[in-house]
């Protein structure tokens, strides 16, 4: 078994169960609710098991008391009506509280589900897209962020279990998911709605920065790429192979819109939407044969590139921090 292989990113671990390990005010009540419901489930199951055991094995007198319509009235009607009424009120008030619309001026990030990656656009105060990034959402810790969820192809669903429940991305609609991370850190996410082909391999990482770090990150990401002269060969391979038809690198001629923006690809944590850790070797492997790593993804395998070309182009991309 390959259990010792690390995931593409540490935030994508399954233990402790992320749905039970909240990291912000939107996920915390869900966690309490889950534990409350699990306790309710255990209690009711225990009642049923005890009642069934008594019905089967108890002395005759006991069984006689159980064996009438009264049991159905009490345990099957009255008790559930009380429990369910209480649950309903809990659920409704919590739903209401958690679906408050974003406050005016709240930070907004537009996340668009694509087959099979995430387009992430950072909106300025006027609601215009300042710059694009992919497969990572960067947020400041300690304040709520509104994610505008959209899709241009099929239905996807963004699920960041430690920050909030999931919400679908539906063509023709815009859903708002609010998240907040109380502490800086990295939080795994996953596409939860079957979106065809390699739906299984469509992950995302949310990076929460300390507020000051976030501002610095934002400034840096907003800038165009600054390829070092040392990577001219790699850039030439990039241009020659036509990568710019699908990918944009701001500050260069590459301005394709179909695939992820690569302006700062070297600074990302993962490749292929959470499939590989990001390093030069992985980049070369991905470009050379992404179809072997993530079958069905929209990027063709560039097996025509020589080993040297792959090294050059991956070094170039890796340098785009």
């Amino acid at each position: 078994m390959q259990t010792d292989a690390p995931p593409a990113h540490g935030s994508l671990k399954g233990w402790p169960p992320p749905a039970l390990d909240p990291a912000g005010p939107f996920a915390a009540p869900l966690n309490s609710l889950t534990w409350g419901l699990l306790a309710m489930t255990a209690a009711v199951l225990a009642i049923v098991v005890v009642a069934l055991a008594l019905a089967l094995f108890a002395p005759r007198a006991w069984r006689k008391r159980l064996g009438g319509e009264r049991l159905v009235w009490i345990a099957g009607i009255a008790f559930p009506v009380v429990v369910l009424s209480a649950l309903l009120v809990w659920g409704l008030s919590l739903t209401h509280r958690l679906s408050e619309p974003p406050r005016p001026g709240e930070l907004r990030v537009r996340v668009t589900g694509e087959m099979w990656w995430w387009r992430v656009g950072y909106l300025d105060a006027a609601g215009r897209e300042a710059f694009q990034d992919a497969n990572e959402i960067h947020i400041p810790a300690g304040r709520p962020v509104a994610l505008e969820l959209e899709s241009t192809d099929v239905i996807h669903s963004l699920w960041i279990p430690r920050l909030n429940g999931k919400l679908d991305m539906i063509p023709g609609r815009r859903n708002i998911l609010r998240i907040q991370a109380d502490q800086p850190g990295e939080y795994g996410a996953q596409c939860a709605e079957f979106c065809g082909g390699p739906h299984a391999l469509m992950a995302l990482v949310v990076v929460a920065h300390a507020p000051a770090d976030y501002e610095a990150w934002k400034v840096k990401q907003g800038e165009p790429a600054a390829p070092a002269p040392a990577h001219a060969a790699g850039k030439a391979v990039f241009d020659r192979a036509g990568c710019g038809a699908c990918h944009a690198i701001r500050g260069t001629d590459a301005n394709g819109l179909a695939g992820p923006d690569l302006t700062h690809v070297g600074s990302r944590r993962t490749l292929g939407a959470g499939v590989l850790p990001n390093n030069q070797g992985a980049l070369a492997g991905w470009i050379g044969d992404s179809q072997a790593i993530k079958p069905g993804n929209r990027m063709p395998a560039y097996s025509v590139l020589s080993g040297q070309e792959l090294r050059d182009v991956s070094a170039y991309l890796e340098s785009l921090k």
């Binding site: 609710l33 069934l52 649950l87 099929v154 739906h199």
Partner: protein, 847 residues
Amino acid sequence: MNGPPTPSETGFDTALYERFPTKGRRPKGELEQLEAIWCAPRRWEWITVINNNYVGVYYVGAAMLFFVLAGVLALLMRTQLALPMQGVLAQETYNQIFTMHGTVMMFLFAVPAVEALGVLLLPQMLGARDLPFPRLSAYAFWAYLIGGLAFFCSLFFGLAPNGGWFMYPPLTSTTYSPGINADFWLLGIGFIEISAIAGAIEIIVGVLKTRAPGMTLDKLPVFAWAMLVFAGMIIIAFPSVILATTLLELERALGWPFFDATRGGDPMLWQHLFWFFGHPEVYIIFLPAAGAMSTIVPAVARTPLVGHWLVVLAFLATGFISFGVWAHHMFTTGLPGVSVGMFSAASMAVSLPAGVQVFSWIATVASGRMKFNAPGLFVLGSLLIFVMGGLTGVMAAMVPFDWQAHDTYFIVAHLHYVLIGGMVFPLFAAIYYWTPMVSAHPLSERLGRWTFGLMFAGMHLAFLPMHLTGLMGMPRRVYTYAAGRDWEWPNLISSIGAFVFAAGVLIWVIDMIRNFRPFGFSEAGNVYGGGGLEWLPAGLYSTRSIPVVTSLYPLWDQKNLARDVAAGRYFLPGAPTGGRETLVTSPVNAEPQHLLRMPIPSGWHVWAAVFTAGFFLLLTVQAYAASVLSGVLAIVCVLRWCWFLDHPLPQQTVDVGAGIELPTYASGSSSTGWWAMVVTLVVGGMVLAMSVFSYVFLWSRSPDTWRPPPDTTSLAVATASAIGGGALALLARRQLGRPWLATAMVIAGGALLGLAFGVDLSSWRSIGLSPQASAQGAIVHAILAWQGFFVAVAAIMALYVLLRRLYGYVGPDRPATIELVGLFLAYTAGQGLVGLYVTRLFPAGLA
């Protein structure tokens, strides 16, 4: 519950029941005649049989075949997921397999299995010789078997659908699913739905109209109650998915944008339509299984069901409230908060009836003495598993929790607990319990214990860890997962559990091969001591005579019942008209109304099924000419089979026992045909209602693009001709004394309906509304297309009436055909008017 005597429903004097059991010997040769009329098939006749004793067994067998096939797919999936990043199944293959697993389990196993159980058991339980339309259920079976096998075989050609059993567009639209895989789903399932609806009509009419005399509603067996509600739910729920599949196929084939957001459609419409069917579907599957549980628990505990009436109430409440929960599959789609809350509340309410049933079973166990035989074990296992699934269901009904759990393995665990506990285990209990009714040997108790033990252990091993896997972040419908995400151990355990479960099923298969011997002349009999009529001694004609029922458990409470029934001392001890026949009784009090002459085997329904399947399959592979030809042949076969119907017998009344004379011909609301037609029209009406919902829904998505309707002249002309056409057809029945006039009225009625349709259609075309350009164009044309389909059927019916007139089959002595055609045409007129006015007055009329 024996209250004071109740008034009569039909005017039948229930004091006549006192004449039974009759005294004296039955005439010689009576039994031999009955046996000859209901003789066993010889040589190739086993294909054309229509007797439920055969068709029911075939039907259950086919459903179990699909259970095993879909189970094998599950094993393949669990093998792939046992370890991370395995290559046992390629991504595309996995996606096809998980789609097929869900689809086959839901559409080819679960619904047909419970429907099959109804076809097999109901006539015996109700004391009928057969179901009221045996040829229809045989047709439904063959259509299902042929269509289902062809659908399954698409897997072997890599053509199986791969968009999930829920088939959400736009993933399943031509843009993202260009192959014919999705068409296989849409046409294949659309077709099997027709078979399910045919079965439901059969069951509703059977339960309401062919009960043993005296079997009033309070003595109606609990299983029959469950089947009645089940069939009613199919009638209400399935039209929604029929509409959904039709709309998506229209979008794929003709480019009508119902779900395409770029042209004004909305993918959410599919979700509403699909889940309006899809959630009730779960209860549709669960109810008959619960009915079986409520039959088997008392039998193995040897005591009447505690709170029988509460259980019946639970069925009825489930039947209603389960239609208010569809959007709980859509809590993460961003529905408005208030609606979400409503669906959450209804989801809570629907769990009340489940609780009632669970505690009724526990109380029954307590009041009796449970035997731990094979059906008993399955019943107990079912109870525990179902309660666990129900509780996680209450969890998922809590909206905020569902935001975490939705589309994760937690839900996979939940739904398998509900379906395996609520349907599979009860079905196995039912198979063990009722096998002795149809087979010469019961199934083995020893192997049954092994089957139960392995299935029970395997079930928990496979699905209990999945609750955790889901909370650990694993989404559903993933063909693999990356290593190092801690999902390895729970997945490996689940995979082992799946194989343990499969081992249990394998032992059951071995048991069946060793012991299941149906169609013989001997039956193992009532080995578990049940109290229902199905345990009366029986032959292929069912019971020798049809008893008067005075108890909910007649075999327990009515002394010497088996002996007297077998000696022919009750209703219909022979075959007074010399053919296959059964008693038709009234729906509330089961008072005898008339004698129903039943059809005999013939090949027409089999050919009809072959050509119906051919029509849909050829359509899928885009062989349009061959498909149309096959469709025409199917219609011809159905008409040929109808041709045998509606022929009055020379004897207008016959003695059905003890000197009680009943008519041999019926029309109007006492006849089975009238009920079947009304139920069929409810199906049509539900499709119409869901179309109107779709119309309003699509309008609300893009009100600015909605164009004003055509001029009012066309509205007036269409209204007048629709009303005129419907009225003429309805009134034709009163003119049967002048057969040519009646025939002409039906034909004129059909022509007027065609005119109304043509005027409506051309008025929309004249203002340039195109079905491809906008959602309004698409949905208006869809409503028109549905009306056009009815007008076409009406035209065929009118021609059929003309043909019958030419043969002299239209006259005052046989009003049924004209009456039913009149009903259909009048409904078509009404449907046309609804479509006409909705599309013109909404929203324009609001302004």
